[in-house]
Every structure is written in structure tokens, then in C-alpha cells.
Amino acid sequence: MDKTIPAVIKKYNGDETRLMDILIDIQAELGYLSDATIARIAKTLNIPQVDVEQTVSFYHFFAREPRGRYTVYLNDSVVAQFHGRAAVVRAFEEAAGCAFGQVSPDGCIGLFDTACIGMSDQEPAALINDVVFTSLTPAWAREIVAGLRAGKTVAELQGDRLGDGQNAHPLVHAMVCNHIRRRGSMVFDDYQPGAALRRVVALSSSEVIAQVKAASVRGRGGAGFPTGMKWEFARKAPGDVKYIFCNADEGEPGTFKDRVILTELPQLVFEGMAIAGYAVGARQGILYIRNEYRYLRAYLEQVLSDMRANNLLGPLIVGQAGFNFEIKIQYGAGAYVCGEESALIESAEGKRGEPRDRPPFPVEKGYLQRPTVVNNVETLCSVVKVILNGPEWYNNLGTAESKGTKVLSVSGDCEWPGIYEVVWGFSVNDILKMVGARDVQAVQVGGPSGACIAPKEFNRILAYEDLATGGSLIIIGRQRDLLPEVVLNFARFFRDESCGSCVPCRALTGMAQIVLEKIIAGRGTPTDLDRLSAWSAIMKRNRCGLGQTALNPIVTTLKNFRGLYDQRIKAGDDRFEPAFDLAAAVRDYDRAVAGT
């Protein structure tokens, strides 16, 4: 301990804005961040201890108490539940001798739930000390625990299980699978590394932006903001130092396309960042990637250094005077809200991932108060292809308002979950056919923050003008009990992930969960349904998209699956709360006085 803390802090030049990196590295060495460690970090950085504490306490993966020599983070998402998570939980608990949320008595194994880890096409999945385990079974869970107890390493337990494509690359060495089921003409098409960078230097920065605008590239992170316009704002913003962020936080449950793109085509993404840098006048790029994807780190670093060696990064890119661009990688530490661009920036500055008030927008005052562009992984890929193939080519793909292709993450009840790159304009029905889905009760489009739609809407098309989506489709089969198995899981997710800044978001995500549980238990009243609807209007006043969409699972199922609610509601006189149980409420008292 004595040497670790100063050594790590020195590595980051005592820069408090690197607190995330410092904490991640120190936790990797020491296992957890004790109060003493936190005090020491604060002292060495010469910042208040609460500043360190509040960052540590914000992120799921920072542990303030030991979480076992081996820490199992088992995905708790809807899709994991669909695919047998409950049995895997029981197997882990029995084998480890402790419940989830605890560490085994011998301190060897800690069991913890975690939100979707981006493996929805191969659930149940878990992270064990940064190694991904996919398609877990109860038998295998028992084997893992026994192996760890017997002194095997996590790598030994993974054995020779390797995924397809670059997952088998020696620097990745993961059992994760890509499951690329359909390659489109944009992202997953062949491309010549470096070609776009060579082409871009023939254009001026405003010509690059003009091309991106002419192609009408829109952001793939969910909001669909016009990329050319964003770049132009940042280019025109006063200041000499500007930043390009690639948003690879990918926390929306059911989404995993950015993982696959970063596994197969990291250089495409990095080239996109460099092009953005060229257009905006930024010399520094930062890939903000979720901690769950840390298993890619050696590989991504290698790709970056290969690019430097090939003159595709660093000073004088492709020999062009004035084209200097560097990329560094920033890891998150487990927080869905950090995908929101201003929270992502706060997090990259070493703080709690709380969204900022806007304006000012990041393009004016972003990272370290400098003009900053934040773009999704896939957006940056599209830009490279626009530069290579021209705006007309891009404009010929898709619908009126949605150009190009969309990479979809498909999971849930279907034959072939995985990655599908389609031009915008496919209907939900088309996709269901493509992925081998039968007997579908509902489709969750765009993750929990999106919409849960019923079969009567399956003819709607995926496009900004109809069903806008960040690209995740969770297919929910007839056999699922929608309210407890899906909607409640999502409600819990939002309650856990709210950053807590806005009162409606903080309070109503919790209250919505309580009311939903009450309805599911058959004790709901018509008033409860009215209340949920009224709250959703209040939620629109929250500061960021998380709070604004947090009740969407409830609102969209109330609209599309009203019958499921009505059949659980006690009709008639609702003046007396059916959920209140007086006998249960006095039980503690009876017990307390029983002995006296």
C-alpha cells in the first residue's frame, strides 16, 4: 500500500482530473478502496477527501469494502433473466456459500449483481476480475467457484474458450462472440485502413464538414443529432484547444453493437475520431469506454500504437503538416448515466458522472471547459465511409430523414441474436423474420429508455421519422410475464442508475418501482395507474435523458399492454389502500414486547 498510491498518482502527474484512472489503477493493485486509501489519495493529490469519496461512491465498480479475491459481477438484465440467470445465481450462491451482494466467508469469492454488461446475445454473462464469461450454466458456475477455491486463475478457468474474429486475438483472448449476422454496406463493409485519412487532407476542414452535412449524417447514440452541425459548432467555438470524444459507454441494456465494432474495426473508429479532429481543429481525442469492456484494453492500445507507427496518429498524420491528433482511452467504472455526453465529460474529468446543466453545450464548454465534440462509435464509422465514398453514395442509402445504415443489437427470444447492419427503413416485422423470432409478444425498441411495442405496431419502420432507435431490439416472447419479468426489471434499473441530482428523477424512479411492485402483487388501484401517468409528465422536467425517459417502460406498456395492468388492478372502491396490511405493520411491535 505504501508505494502503490504515490506511484500510481505519479504516473498521472498528480493530475486530479485523472482521478478515474488513478482509482481504477489503485483498486486493481489493492483490491478495494478503503477509507485510509481514500484519505491517502486525497492527501497526495492535495484535494479534499470528499472529492475523492464522492467519485468513489458514484460508480458501481469502485469497492469501498473488500469484494473478494475474485469478484463475480453477474449481469442482471432482462435478457439474462430470460436465459436462465436465476439458476446460475442459485448455483453460484450454493457453491460460494454466500448470497449475492456478499463475499464468501473465506474471502475468496464475492457475488454481485451488475447492470447489462453488453453481452445480451450470449447471456447469462458475468465479469470475473475483468474476464468475461458468457453463456453461463449452473454446472459451469459451480465449476468456476470450485476452480477458484482450488487456486486456479480466472484465465485458467476460461481455458481455450475463444470467441470468433478478433476476440481470439492474443491480446483480447476472450470467449466473447461477435455474432455478426448481417454485414451492411457501411460499417461492416471492407475498407482500406488509412485511406480516409489520406483523402481527408486533400480537403479543408470546412469542406469535410460540408461533406458530412451533405450526407446528412445523424448521431447513432440515440438522439440523432446532425453530426455536421455539431462539428461546425465546435469548429466555430472560440479557443485553441478542443477535444473529440468517442462515446463507447454503451450502457443501454440490450445494446452491444459498439463492443463488436470496437472489437472488429477499432481503427475505423479511431480514424473517424481523427477526421473529426481535423474538421473541428482538435488535437486530442478520448475514447470513453465502459469498464465492462476493459478486456479489450491491451488490444486497443496496440491498435493505437500501430496507427502511430504507420503515421495515422500523432504528429504529421499521413505526412500532412498541421494534422496532429492523439487518442487516449478513458475507462468508466460502471454508471449508465455516464453515456450522457455531459456526464461522460464530468466522469472523464475525474468526477461523479452527473449530467451538466445545458447550455452551455459541450461544443462550447465541454471537457476541461473547452469546446468538445461527443460522438457515438458508429457515427464516427459512418463519417469515415462518407469521406471515402462521398455524400451521394451515403444519401442513396436509407429513408428520407435517415441516411446510411444502422447496426442493430438483437437479443431476447429469437433464434439468431446478434449484430445486424441494415439500411434504415426496415420494419420491425422484417427484422423479426430475419432473426428467427416466432410467437412474439412485444419488442423493446431502443432499450429500456425506448418503447415497448405490441404486434399491432410491428409494421412500423426503424428510422428517425418513425421508430427512432439507438439500435437495440429486445424480443419478448409470448411465454414472458411482461410486467414482472420486463417492466419491473427496467424500473429497478432506472432507480439504480439515476444520478440523483433531480428530485423527480431520484424520487419518482423509486416510487414508480414501489407502485409497480404493488400492482404486480395484485394490490394496485386505479389511482395507482393515474399516478404513474401523471408522474411521467413531471419526469419530462428532469435535467437529462435518463430521467426524461425513465418511466418509458411503464408509459409505453400502459399504452400498448393496458390489459396486463387492468387485470391485476382491484376494481371498485379504491378509497382504502389494499396494499396496507395492519397485522403485518404491528408484528414488529408484538415481537418487541413479547419478551417483557
Binding site: 389502500e577 404491528v586 411491535y589 418487541a592 414486547v593
Partner: protein
Amino acid sequence: MPKKIIATASLAGCFGCHMSFLDIDERLLDLIELVEFDKSPFNDLKEFSRACDIGLIEGGCCNDENVHTLINFRQRCRVLVAVGECAIMGGLPSLRNVIPLQECLAEAYLHGPTVAGGATPNVIPHDPDLPKILDRVYPCHEIVKMDYFLPGCPPRADLIWDALVALVTGQELKWPYATFKFD
């Protein structure tokens, strides 16, 4: 217009809301032209004598007697109003909700610094005549449906007055949101 019948109760509250009510001062004389009181601490009527139009509830529920009273009010009153923070959210008494009841009672009656070590062993009071303490303090709406909520700790007299006039005359209460937004 026949006079509206009003009943009031203080459950797990401090009577502050009732005091605030009395702060309408000389308007009490106007009030008495509009309403008649049934069961209420104001007139010390312990039982309902008829069906009421409006029930005003101060305080949340911390024991089983509160629950019975509240349910009785719900049965008797056409419109039920939660008056003040405790009725609405549990208020100050609900600070104990984060502590298990057993610990609360032990601190209060068995081991607390102010519990004198007398000749007889300390006991947690319990007697068939005493209400039973609930596991936590409940806001009123978790037990019965509440029709309206008057925020404040206590709600200021003017708000109580205007709300009552609005209810009695069937008018809309025209208070700007900001006047009773306290956060």
C-alpha cells in the same frame, strides 16, 4: 346553501397544523357561517355524529389507533385532505423509519441515557389499552386514498383558509405553485 360538515383529526402530528388553522383569526367567524364542525379537537367531539363533507387530517400514522381513526374518517368523509408534511409524507416522526422499531423502543424505554435505572426493571410499555406502534410511520395516502394535499409544516393559515373556502364553494384554489413549493 346548507352548511358543509367538517371533521378534523390529529394523528401522528404535533397539533401545529390545527394551531395554524386557528391562525385564520377573525375569519373563524366567517368560517362558522359556511361550515359546521363534527368530530374534531376544536369542539372536543370524540365521535362522528353524521356523514361529513370534508375531513382534514393532520399527521401520518404511527400506531394502530391512527390507522383506525384514518379509516373511520375515510368512511365518514366525502373528501379527505392531508394537511401538512406529516400527513403527506410522514414528516418528522418518520425520521425513525430508518431505524428498526425494536432498536427505537429499546433506546426509548430500556437503555437510553434518560431512562433512569429504578427499582423495577425497565419495560417497553404495552397494555391492551395502549395503541400498538407500527413498524414505521406511514403517510396517510399509503393507507387510504387522500383527495387533496395541503403542503407546509404547518401549511400557513391563509392556505388552509383559501383551500377550505375553495372546497366549500366548489371554486378552484388559485395559489401559484411557487407559494407552496418549499424545496
